[in-house]
Symmetry: C2
Amino acid sequence: MNTPRVSLDQWRTLQAVIDHGGYAQAAEKLHRSQSSVSYAVKRLQGQLGLKLLHIEGRNAVLSEAGKVLLQRSRQLVADASAIEQQAHHLEQGWEAEIRLAVEAAYPTQYLMQALKQFEPLSKDTRIRLQEVVLSGAEDILLKGDAELVISPYVPQGFLGEELIQVNFIAVAHPEHALHQLGRDITTHDLNRETHVIVSDSGSKGIDSGWLNESHRWAVASLESARKVISSGLGYGWLPEKEIEQQINNHELKYLPLKEGQRRTGILYLIYANPDQVGPATRQLAELLKQVSHDMEA
Amino acid sequence: MNTPRVSLDQWRTLQAVIDHGGYAQAAEKLHRSQSSVSYAVKRLQGQLGLKLLHIEGRNAVLSEAGKVLLQRSRQLVADASAIEQQAHHLEQGWEAEIRLAVEAAYPTQYLMQALKQFEPLSKDTRIRLQEVVLSGAEDILLKGDAELVISPYVPQGFLGEELIQVNFIAVAHPEHALHQLGRDITTHDLNRETHVIVSDSGSKGIDSGWLNESHRWAVASLESARKVISSGLGYGWLPEKEIEQQINNHELKYLPLKEGQRRTGILYLIYANPDQVGPATRQLAELLKQVSHDMEA
DNA sequence: TTTACATATCTAATAATTAGATATATCTTA
DNA sequence: TAAGATATATCTAATTATTAGATATGTAAA
């Protein structure tokens, strides 16, 4: 790799000369002498082996090459400042990365809203997002694979805060046999059809299928469940917020169940390490709680 | 704007320490003394106000913050080198930008191929691409709005090289009335239908419609012409290479004309300023010629 | 012309960086 | 566990780069 010869300070000086319209003015702004500025620019041009600006009358004019390189150098200097800025944030304990594991049933729009609000405050903290299903969250907490988890269960030894209540609603494709009955649907009706359940991504083997039907399809993610049910291959309980679009598109239709059409679950927000939560994690957690509560109201 | 405090050299030194596994080894590689390296890193950490690495046993280990900042600093140093690299290219006369105006009938795939080949050789030269139609190219040459032009005409006073021959073929949508005749099409047939022509983007007012029909639609670009004809609203002569896909998709179909089904035009490659052609422009021109000739063969 | 304003360059002073020497710490091995 | 090998930390002196001050030079406006 080539080592740079020109220093940031030299580029910075060139920028000041252009921005303030001359060597003398730049010197003023930089709290340096005019000769110092002159020296820096001369040296810069010498190192690059080309003229960046020439004096025309009494003011400095950039050459074509100068324009291009000045432009790039601005980015360079800004980048350098940004690194130092991030160093400052890190020094204050801001994490470089937050790993967030979210139960699939948590409404995507809430999540996106929270992340959107977090972004300008994030101080360069990156988010690593993982979607999990049911006890998958528990595994992640135990293994320490995330700082923040949204899950329907709070494993032993962890502390969770209630985030939102999620409604799971029984749906099937509008053309599905269950929709052709023309009457309320009974448990007996359901038992004749294929029930699509989201099977567990974790190791513990909790299932979200509470009935004990013979025909069951287990799929690995909410997205798969939605696709399978949308294609007419079965029925299942899906989170209300996550299927609004499919309902409107007539890809899915609520099943008129006599009872149990709606099942609710509570999602909890859990810190993996409550003792040592970084400021960024705390901030993100606050936003998630805020968004969840605001949207519910 | 914040001025950076940490110098490129300090970042560079940190990188060397990590890359070569120690202060002493880094010093060796950098041709400096060990104490100098030690000083630089200590100062860096002092300026940032945090520890980037700590000595564990007898080798340096990065802190979490150190990992993140080192990573970013590598990019920074690489950027700095890249600017100097570009300065070198500019110094050798490589242009920062080439403006290329291309007649719409020039096959897109040829153009893309040439640009693709140019990219690794480009030495940071950016391409500004403009699509023009007919005499639009002449305007651009006269105004000096491009360095390189591909056009079917070589205006007075310019020098063009033959690039390729383009075949324009008469087409219409398969369902178009002209395709329902069940026989060869005559001029008389054509005169009853709407002729779609690409009208001139320039000021001179050359038209590519050679017939003198009553029904004419003038559209502003090849893309529009293709869309209009594909939608069944008329017929027209379009460049063979640019409608292959539409022919295969049965969006367009060749018209069985008794005569004049195929019209040809020659596209020329023209330097706006033959006296002072930069190396990048020359390189790109070579690639365009090469691609055009190879593909024709 | 003269004046005002701006850059270039010379020299001396100053500040930052470097090397050399040496102290200190850790791992290895006997 | 002590000696040897290897590595970083720190002190001081030397070196180098940068800066300011003074002055020369060049351009535009009055």
